[in-house]
């Protein structure tokens, strides 16, 4: 699976051109363009309602854009080509696990859906990696939130995707789970996986990434390499954007 990507000629891996998503009057994305090369890690910051989740949903083929194009792993995202879906893994705040099944059964089910071979071994290794092997036969319902999140990470990268989308992955994690996630992200980054993550956590987001974007009202207000970015200055800019947004919301309610 991994080998097939090294021969992937498409460069850049993620290519977004003038992406818009609107329905009637609702504008979630208002013309976003950017490129991401193989192995790059982009952190997208932005206030709630900036359209970050919509961006990820479009890039992972869940939603159709209104106009503009996006190519992921060389495939047009619109319509969600099955081969493209094979290349991506998504981690979001919903865990996407069946509470009544055991971790092993969960991983085997999702593995079957990807058409993976030697599933049992694969699932066991994945469980070892996130430290859940001893509890592989207990129903997921009995797990703590942190354990569920760890399992959710194992599920998302079970098919070894070359591209990862993370939508606010640190929200609601305990320290252990967030460390497991960080470790995993660093490993994946070193293994040259392309990563796009949306987050609120400025220090954590800046620490790991190569590129930084600030998304406000459906647009990238800022898109730079992480080198040379002053953390405090960026934080200030980010909080300004959030405050402006809240200010605008205030008008609506009054």
């Amino acid at each position: 699976m991994v080998d097939s990507q090294t021969s992937q000629p498409s460069n850049p891996v993620i290519e977004v051109r003038k992406l818009r998503k609107e329905f009637g009057v609702l504008k979630a994305l208002d013309g976003i363009s950017f490129n991401l090369e193989r192995g790059e890690f982009l952190s997208v910051f932005g206030p709630n309602g900036a359209g970050k989740t919509t961006l990820i949903k479009i890039l992972s083929g869940l939603t159709r854009p209104s106009s503009g194009t996006a190519r992921v792993a060389g495939f047009e995202v619109e319509g969600g080509h099955p081969e493209m879906r094979r290349e991506i893994g998504v981690i979001s705040h919903s865990t996407a696990l069946y509470g009544d099944l055991t971790p092993l059964e969960n991983l085997i089910f999702f593995g079957k859906m990807y058409g993976l071979g030697r599933l049992k071994e694969l699932a066991l290794t994945a469980l070892e990696d996130v430290g859940l092997a001893p509890r592989r036969h207990d129903p997921v319902r009995t797990f703590s939130r942190g354990m569920i999140q760890r399992l959710s990470i194992a599920r998302a990268i079970l098919h070894d995707p070359s591209i990862l989308f993370l939508d606010e992955p640190f929200t609601g994690l305990d320290i252990q789970a967030s460390n497991v996630l960080k470790e995993n992200l660093i490993t994946l980054h070193n293994k040259k996986r392309t990563i796009l993550m949306t987050t609120h956590d400025v220090s954590c987001g800046l620490e790991m990434c190569d590129k930084v974007a600030l998304q406000v009202m459906g647009r990238f207000a800022f898109f730079e390499d992480v080198e040379g970015i002053n953390k405090d200055k960026f934080e200030e800019m980010y909080f300004d954007a959030v405050r402006d947004k809240q200010f605008a919301m205030g008008i609506r309610h009054s």
Partner: protein, 226 residues
């Protein structure tokens, strides 16, 4: 194509594994169907009304009501932890998800119906064994139609705030042709008429099944989209 079949069977396997562990759905459906039959028995006077006249209607009302419980549960399970979104991220056709859910809904409901039949036979004092084969065909056609449209609409209703209320409101009026057809056919079958006497009803039910499986294949893409 092989992947498609293994994906469909993975979904069915998953639904069955969950059901074997919890046994929530089957017991709920079975007891509910039994209750519906009992309530109807109390509401009609069986010493005045002929059991074979009201029996088929009561039987199918029980099937449809408890089937609705199954449908509601079926997609609620997928929505619970955002599993449906994960399914949609898989390299699977949307129709694989539809067929997986359709088959597990259909099998659950059919098994439940097979458990209800002997009780129905005892309560109404109707001999089903004589006409078992044509009866099973009628049950197959009716249950398939119910599940074909029901799976489509429950995938739709699962995204609404009021899904438990909206599913029957959307589903029942559309099911009228099936309900009339299966109740009529069951009555005729129990009266000893051969299936060849009711080809118009069989044709109607079969067209219903085919039309709604076809429509579901064509529209499920638009429902399973964020």
């Amino acid at each position: 194509m092989n992947l498609f079949i293994s994906q469909v069977s993975a979904i069915v396997w998953k639904d069955f594994t969950i059901e074997f562990k919890t046994r929530e759905l089957f017991s709920a459906m079975f007891i509910f169907a039994l209750l519906v039959i009992l309530i109807f028995i109390f509401s009609v006077n069986l010493s005045v009304v002929e059991a074979s006249e009201v029996g088929p209607g009561i039987l199918w009302v029980a099937f449809l009501f408890s089937g609705t419980i199954g449908l509601n549960r079926s997609f609620a399970l997928e929505k619970e932890n955002g599993c449906l979104m994960a399914l949609m991220l898989m390299p699977a056709d949307r129709t694989a998800i539809y067929f997986g859910k359709l088959i597990s809904n259909f099998v659950f409901l059919t098994i439940m119906e097979l458990f209800i039949l002997p009780l129905f036979m005892i309560f109404f004092n109707i001999d089903l064994l004589e006409h078992l084969f044509p009866l099973l065909i009628v049950i197959f056609l009716g249950t398939l139609g119910f599940c074909a449209l029901g799976t489509l609409l429950s995938s739709l209703a699962s995204n609404l705030k009021t899904r438990e209320i909206m599913l029957p409101i959307l589903l029942y009026p559309l099911l009228v042709p099936i309900v009339i057809a299966v109740v009529r056919m069951t009555g005729q079958v129990l009266a000893g008429e051969p299936l060849s006497e009711m080809m118009n009803w069989i044709g109607l039910t079969a067209s219903f099944d085919i039309i709604y499986i076809g429509v579901s294949i064509m529209t499920i893409d638009h429902i399973l989209e964020e």
